[in-house]
């Protein structure tokens, strides 16, 4: 039995506190259900102890529960082993760990392929690797509809391509990319693929084994979990490649003044005291997600985004950015003659939370000839009523400015 859609909103205490809040900034971070908040709170109140090496009960309990979350994550994304799962600070750190590890693989004249719709977090780390190693960053183009031009992918990949890094869902356009096709194309040429699942994990069913993806990264806070916690999934065939970004205690096998032997992946990455309540609450968020019918919820958020897209288009003075073939719960738009900040500021006065700016996809905005956009992103607790109120506010905005 999954949680009925109509019961979902009441599980999120922020809406008790802010009853008029229409929260449409879910691509930036989702709200947190009670259970997730309680996990963090109760850990510090009742269970606080550092993990590993503590011989007393609180510490061994904390260790067990922390490690058990690896299995929860493994199950949710269909990984083979919980040892494929590393805990990080979030998507950005996960990508940086992989990029840092690729420094040892990439040489002068090599190339890395990314798409033209990447979040800066999946662009800059690769750009910097390429700059350091005199390699080339190659870009899969994006058309005006906001779809990747996949015919251009094959010619971009050659014997010197070390990796393809691509987002599952665009945080700006809402495009759902055909990652299974991209992975198949890349693997045909023996090129590994990193998928940025920041906008998709927890919202759409993902199975890393079926996809045969090499690296998958995401954050807890965009899937009802806490901030400051995320996941790096690495397929076993790449475990030896992954090198720690941070050195310190907890990640080592043997230390002398002359040298250090590190633990294997994933433990080599978790030096220092990790965000234990964050990881526990990530586990709770995943248990919450397991109680949802993801087909039903993703269909719900898609319908809201489509209703919003259709309604703004019919206003006449608002344009949606792109029109992807396959899209999710995100719609970015511009209002004729009114700057995105003035739009977002106006909506804020009506208790409607949206984001304005370049959403960390500045090159994408440049290629679309836009300096900034307004973004509405929907989640499981939003309703058609939220869409209607936002449309009404946009009509008021027009009157206010004319």
């Amino acid at each position: 039995m999954s949680i009925p859609l109509s019961h979902i909103k009441q599980l999120f205490p922020i809406f008790h506190q802010h009853q008029k809040l229409i929260y449409l900034d879910n691509a930036a971070t989702t709200q947190k259900p009670n259970l997730v908040i309680d996990t963090v709170h109760l850990f510090y109140e009742l269970e606080n102890a550092n993990i590993h090496r503590g011989l007393y009960e609180l510490s061994s309990e904390a260790t067990q529960r922390y490690e058990a979350v690896r299995a929860t994550v493994k199950n949710l994304i269909g990984a083979k082993s919980e040892h494929d799962i590393a805990f990080t600070k979030g998507t950005t750190e996960s990508i940086n760990i992989v990029a840092h590890s690729f420094l040892s693989l990439v040489n002068e004249g090599d190339n890395i392929v990314v798409s033209g719709m990447e979040h800066h977090a999946n662009l800059i780390p690769w750009q910097q690797v390429c700059l350091k190693k005199k390699a080339t960053l190659r870009i899969i183009p994006v058309n005006q509809d906001g779809d990747l031009v996949l015919e251009k992918l094959d010619p971009l990949m050659d014997g010197r391509t070390k990796l393809v890094a691509v987002t599952h869902i665009s945080n700006t356009l809402g495009t759902i990319n055909p990652i299974e096709k991209i992975i198949a194309k890349a693997h045909k040429k023996n090129i590994p693929v990193l998928v940025d699942a920041a906008q998709s994990a927890g919202h759409y069913p993902i199975n890393v084994e079926d996809l045969d993806v090499d690296f998958l990264v995401f954050s807890a806070h965009k899937m009802f979990g806490p901030m400051g916690t995320g996941v790096l999934y690495t397929n076993k065939r790449h475990h030896p490649l992954i090198q720690p970004l941070n050195f310190g205690g907890g990640a080592i096998r043997e230390v002398s003044f002359a040298e250090t032997k590190f633990m294997d992946y994933p433990f080599c990455l978790e030096a220092g005291t990790p965000h234990v309540p964050g990881v526990l609450a990530l586990g709770t968020a995943m248990e919450f997600i397991e109680q949802l019918d993801l087909h039903e919820t993703s269909n719900h958020t898609y319908k809201l985004a489509m209703a919003f897209r259709n309604e703004i288009e019919s206003l006449g003075f608002v344009q949606a950015v792109g029109n992807p073939k396959n899209s999710g719960s995100i719609v970015s738009f511009v209002v004729d003659g009114i700057h995105p900040h003035d739009v977002a500021g106006f909506l804020a006065e009506h208790q409607i939370a949206v984001r304005a700016g370049h959403h960390c996809t500045q090159p994408l905005h440049d290629s679309l000839g836009l300096a900034a956009t307004v973004r509405a992103s929907f989640s499981i607790y939003n309703s058609l009523n939220d869409v209607g109120k936002t449309i009404d506010a946009l009509k008021d905005l027009k009157t206010f400015w004319s």
Binding site: D342, G345, H358, A372
Partner: protein, 149 residues
Amino acid sequence: VSKLNKLYDDVIKRHNAEPYHFLMKPDPANSIRAYNPICGDRFDLFLELDKGTIRQIHFHGFGCAVSKSSTSVLAKTLEGKSMAEAKEICRQFLRLLKEEISSHEILASEEFKSFAVVREIPARYDCAALAWEETLKFLASAALAPRNS
């Protein structure tokens, strides 16, 4: 008066709709880029200098109503001023965005008052301050550089 009506008062609305000297006029010698990488607002200001005096200011670019009107007011106010005077006026405007100023103080322009509203809406401080901060930096460094006019 709602917060919105206060933020977007007549001065800001007018300067946003019809900005002063809003024209691309590249003069690489004396151009100032006012750019906020967080929001993407970007204006280029083109100063025509003559013996330490600002003869004309044109500007062009993209930004919200607050940053655009604030840049427009800057262009209008600083024209005809000496660089030293202009620096003082920039400081006055930026101070006004942060704190109450005494009613006896003579403002370089009555229009400045409209921007004091950002004291109540801190999220919009950067919009109002953008061009003024960059212009102040330009004037401060120009004062150090040898005069070439």
